[in-house]
Symmetry: C2
Subunit: 729 residues, 2 copies
């Protein structure tokens, strides 16, 4: 699945895997870089202005020196110094602007990206949304535990995914093991090609991702050294742009050229070499059956295609889905939850007739409008724009209806979770990012403090995967279309005459035969014409790497009519693939905000999770510790349980303001405060508005709002408002 090869692995996979499943994942970093380098015209002009100002400063310095040497008059010298100082001031102002432009401000609002992220991370770890795994043993990079609220959020996200995709689309869900025998991952290409380039500290043996070192080197200079020439600036930006296309040799050469050493020790580095990112193991006791922890869940679906097709009544289209763990043995995990060694994927493989990629429910999404970033806009330096999905499909920007349908459904899914639609875009893969077999690819990218993060990949992978497993296993993974009555079809028949070819080409005969049989209709008919007119023709055999001469007696080419009762074909597969951990992390960023406490002496943290996502939906607080109030709280708790609303009672003696703050920080949307035996208040988290409701009604009101049957605004205007906020924070 595409989502992760970009960020969690293998920035330089793209070129080397062009015919591989992972190829088209390629790297969005590439295009994003190209794009951003066009976008920061401001930065470029500042760099140019700085260089100019520097040269003005230099020449003015010389002028001052010359005046002094010439023992000019003091007023003249003073005037020149005055100009020099002004120039220096101007230079320092430009430098300041440039520094700000380079650092950027990823998050809107007053706090910068780094500080925002740190505050968020502290909150998430303190409240056990997630924590580094095996902390008491000093942890393992790239492995995280989800604590209670994180688990609940994850369960809610997965439940919504299942509802939104599996149930609403009648998908066939499967659940396959993580342990996978080598042959499956040989067929998929992972054993050979699923690698990142690595370098080693030649003395300590510490390993680094080669592209990371080069990238860090370039960024460091670009961000901190403002004395470099604009040629150097352009060169470094170019290296960043082509980083993912560099071969091991090219990467090694650049590292040597720039004199990049091991980060901590400054020791010399080895040449880059590929490291396979799969966790390897051995199945059974013999040690003779290598296996791997799956790097994606998709293969489990492909190998079951035949059974699933049968289960679906031998009908297309249908989709299979799987939620499960996947594993990548990253060389050096970074970026917290975004690049990890074990993660949850949710993948869909929608199998469809390649000749009919319409979708029955397409009309339900056709009128959606959201940020899309087609290939052309990326190439021409524009930014993502709001586009009408139906128009994108009808204009051919999105390859087909089914792909468009899933793009629309993914948009609804992510915004339904609470992802900000203005920080969500669908970016089309550039031609060089896609494998040759892929028809089209779009990534749902979410903007967070780390930049635009690829969280869902939606690809039309054509017949590639099923064909790969058909070939390796010998089991045909195909679909049949039975004709209601037999059809007469004209078929091209290429019949190489093996005897003649054997005489002419001896050991190379097999390659020539295969090349002849592989001709498409146009090529074959051209050859037929040439042979008829000239009796002989030059023919390029790629497996021999040269032309051979084919004569009339060596091959017969004809078109024949045949009656066919059915069409047998390999289905195309359209694959939406979701990185659940990444989506959740971005959701944390989009949901988190701070507001001053009532006293104004501290900043309080809030997650504005929609009820769908919130780890619990409601808290129940007896205002003061008193048996009567606690009894009422228990009654309400019971009715909440009956209504299926997850909730918690908090009977601690802490002030109500503190209790509100505590649950705001967990993103609990509603709080019921018991301050009388007969009626209670319900407080909404973000507005802090409170209404007054009878005890009997409380659970149902909360249920109607959390289920989405009513809005808070509706409830707010229909119940008496509770304005005594003196107890509030």
């Amino acid at each position: 699945m595409r989502v992760f090869s970009t960020l969690t692995s293998s920035s330089s996979i793209a070129n080397r895997l062009s015919s591989l499943r992972n190829a088209q994942l390629s790297s969005f970093i590439h295009s994003f870089r190209a794009y951003s380098s066009l976008m920061d015209a401001n930065e470029d002009s500042l760099r140019r202005a700085l260089a100019q100002k520097q040269s003005s400063v230099d020449s003015q310095s010389n002028a001052v020196r010359a005046l002094k040497a010439a023992k000019s008059s003091k007023p003249d010298i003073d005037a020149a110094i005055q100009i020099l100082n002004e120039l220096k001031l101007e230079k320092s102002s430009i430098e300041k602007q440039l520094r700000a432009a380079v650092a950027g401000s990823v998050v809107d609002g007053p706090i910068n990206g780094e500080a925002f992220r740190q505050t968020l991370a502290n909150t998430l770890e303190r409240r056990l949304f997630y924590i580094p795994s095996f902390k008491i043993y000093r942890g393992v990079a790239g492995l995280y535990d989800y604590g209670p609220p994180g688990c609940a959020v994850k369960a809610n996200v997965l439940a919504f995914w299942r509802q939104h995709f599996v149930l609403e689309e009648n998908m066939l869900e499967v659940d396959c093991p993580c342990v996978t025998p080598e042959i499956v991952l040989k067929a998929s290409g992972h054993v050979e090609k699923f690698t990142d380039l690595m370098v080693k500290d030649e003395k300590t043996g510490t390993c680094f991702r080669a592209d990371h070192l080069l990238k860090d080197y370039c960024n460091e200079i670009l961000q901190k050294d403002f004395s470099i020439t604009s040629e150097k600036t352009a060169e470094l930006k170019h290296v960043l742009a082509i980083l993912d296309d560099l071969s091991a040799e090219q990467l090694g050469a650049k590292i040597k050229e720039y004199g990049i050493a091991a980060p901590d020790t400054k020791n010399a580095l080895s040449d880059p070499y590929p490291f396979n990112l799969m966790f390897q193991t051995s199945i059974g006791p013999s040690g003779l059956s290598p296996g791997y922890m799956r790097p994606e869940t998709a293969q489990g679906i492909f190998v079951n295609f035949k059974d699933l097709y049968y289960y679906n009544g031998n009908k297309l289209p249908f989709a299979a889905a799987q939620i499960g763990q996947a594993f990548r043995n990253e060389i050096s995990p970074r970026q917290g939850l975004l690049r990890v060694r074990e993660f949850t994927l949710a993948e869909i493989e929608h199998f469809v007739d390649p000749e009919d990629k319409s979708h029955p429910k397409y009309s339900e999404v056709v009128d959606l409008e959201f940020l899309m970033f087609p290939r052309e806009e990326q190439m021409s330096g524009q930014s993502a724009k709001k586009i009408h999905l139906g128009k994108a499909v009808s204009k051919g920007i999105v390859n087909n209806e089914t792909l468009g349908y899933f793009i629309g459904r993914v948009y609804l899914f992510l915004t339904g979770l609470g992802i900000d639609k203005d920080r969500l875009r669908f970016r089309q893969h550039l031609a060089n990012e896609m494998a040759h077999y892929a028809a089209d690819c779009w990534d749902a990218e979410i903007k967070c403090s780390y930049g635009w993060i690829e969280c869902v990949g939606i690809a039309d992978r054509s017949a590639y995967d099923l064909r790969a497993h058909s070939e390796k296993s010998g089991v045909p993974l195909v679909a049949h279309e039975k004709f209601s009555e037999p059809r007469e079809v004209e078929k091209l028949v290429i019949a190489p005459v093996k005897k003649e070819l054997g005489l002419a080409f001896k050991g190379s005969q097999k390659m020539v035969v295969e090349a002849l049989e592989a001709m498409n209709e146009k090529e074959a008919l051209e050859m037929k014409a040439s042979l008829q007119s000239k009796g002989e023709v030059d023919f390029y055999v790629c497996t021999l790497g040269k032309n051979v001469s084919i004569t009339k007696n060596m091959v017969s080419i004809s078109k024949e009519k045949k009656k066919e009762h059915q069409r047998v074909f390999t289905p195309s597969v359209i694959e939406p693939s979701f990185g659940i951990g990444r989506i959740i992390y971005c959701l944390y960023e989009h949901s988190f905000y701070m507001r001053p406490s009532k006293a104004g002496d501290e900043q309080l943290n809030v997650f504005r999770f929609p009820p769908l996502v919130a780890p619990i939906k409601c808290t129940v607080f007896p205002l003061v510790q008193n048996q009567q109030y606690e009894e009422v709280a228990k009654i309400i708790s019971k009715s909440l349980t009956t209504a299926g609303i997850s909730h918690k009672i908090d009977i601690t003696g802490t002030s109500i303001g503190k209790r509100y703050a505590r649950t705001d920080e967990l993103g609990v949307p509603f709080a019921i405060t018991v301050d009388s035996p007969s009626s209670v208040t319900i407080r909404e988290r973000d507005s802090k508005d409170q209404i007054r409701v009878n005890v009997e009604e409380a659970a149902l009101v909360v249920k109607s709002v959390t289920d989405g049957h009513r809005t808070w605004a509706d409830v707010w205007s229909n119940f008496p408002r509770h304005s005594s906020v003196s107890v509030e924070e």
Copy 2:
């Protein structure tokens, strides 16, 4: 977690791991064998009768031969032959009874266990409840995929588990990675001790579990060879009974003694040696950080104890829970879904003050009665009996209230899923099955065609696990009880005088010091008394393996009064641990039955899943293909969706009887058949009863029954009955 070490691994672990986490798992096979050998008194008496009859036959044969040799009269010889034939007939009749007794009849009803299991397995695989993984590549033993209905059943079982345990008990759920660094599993003991004994075919290298070969050999003879003496019978049964306690050497000796060879090749076998059952891998690129795929999920909870305790407001008791994959690299997986290499566990670690193991909700389960099989009953050859849970706890049969509470909750969970309460028992571990630190252990065992299968382990593991990780990590995993006012406590102070001990014991000084400090109060006070009276005392130092002589000047022992402000202690942990795949498989067996089709010409398969478990709750069938009916079906489908009822419309033209049969085989509890525009029928799967309901009401009726708010009997008596069953199967 205990559940699996018995059946999925390591039958002979018990003895070797006595101080280890897995030790108490030991083997229920052992006690079950002991028990069953007492139970089959019938078989024993038949064997004895057969042996007697055989000797009668032999002596009568001799008599006949003697008469013939003596040329006796024909009538005499004929009479003797007549007797011989009668004896032979009698012998053959006993043989038949014995064969039946040995084979047993595991499943009630007319079909035997093997045939029942095969029919069930065929149905499960054909309907994709599960299938062998990677089938197109000929699969891998011990790995299975869950197909669509299997996935749905599993999701339902887990959702119920989460509701029944995590939500109702406010447990702290966590989600930790499968990839685990070595140090964690060294602390838990798995790296050193989590092994099974293996033998290799000396020529082909094929591996076998040593205990399996010996077990198969004994069973084969006991089941098929009726000519063996009763001494031999007793010997083989004894071997089966002690199988799990045999060391590598003893197992090897038995294999030699019986001349057991490799099953297929008949080649000689190697000596048994331990094979670690964890899948090993390497974390990161250096190859220097060994890791394993976790063999259980519990360790992830233990290492997080400190954070979870803090999250819970530093209060005990509290429970943490985790659902996730676990991995065991079985030497030779068997028994389908019961012994697999990757499986889903759901584990609870309930942390409690060792001095107070009461449970606040104990009263909710105290009056449950179900089959329990205490240690004493097993030892005295009785069978499991219905016991009142409260009495079992108050009599001390079950060690404490919290353990009792969880036993009761597990009973409610399993029977809630549809496990037959008459084929469910709680078996207490025998003393030799438990680790020395465990306070008490009970397994929920479910009877299926493979016998009694351990599906849930419920153990009071005392402080073992937390202490092990405290020691290894150096991080104290302890709880605090703050006293409301300081308490004066009398403390034993043992102060070895190192100088004197050093002079006396030199290099052994450290061991002597440790042994002295490790004395309990009674031992220390006895030593004090002896030293006072005699001035010298013999003292056994286990680390030296000998007695040393301790004199008065070497140690000071006293009791001192101290003021303490808090008590610091390692909590005990009570661990219910669920093998989800095993529970699901047993559920399949308990839910599956066959009934004749209406025509009586075939047997139809039915799963009697309760609605909670059923993969979908309802199907909607337009009786005939007709637009009007299909419109009504769509309206009903919409209201089912709104009501949150998973369902499917089947508009195929197949006969309604066939459509019913098809969904009965998936265990769908209700079918709505549209046979008029205004009203429809609702059919219940097991009774095949049908009621007539208005279109508008249909979804709500189904919802009320699937949610458990009404029973079918209630619905059945409140709606008009639909008796036209002519269309039915």
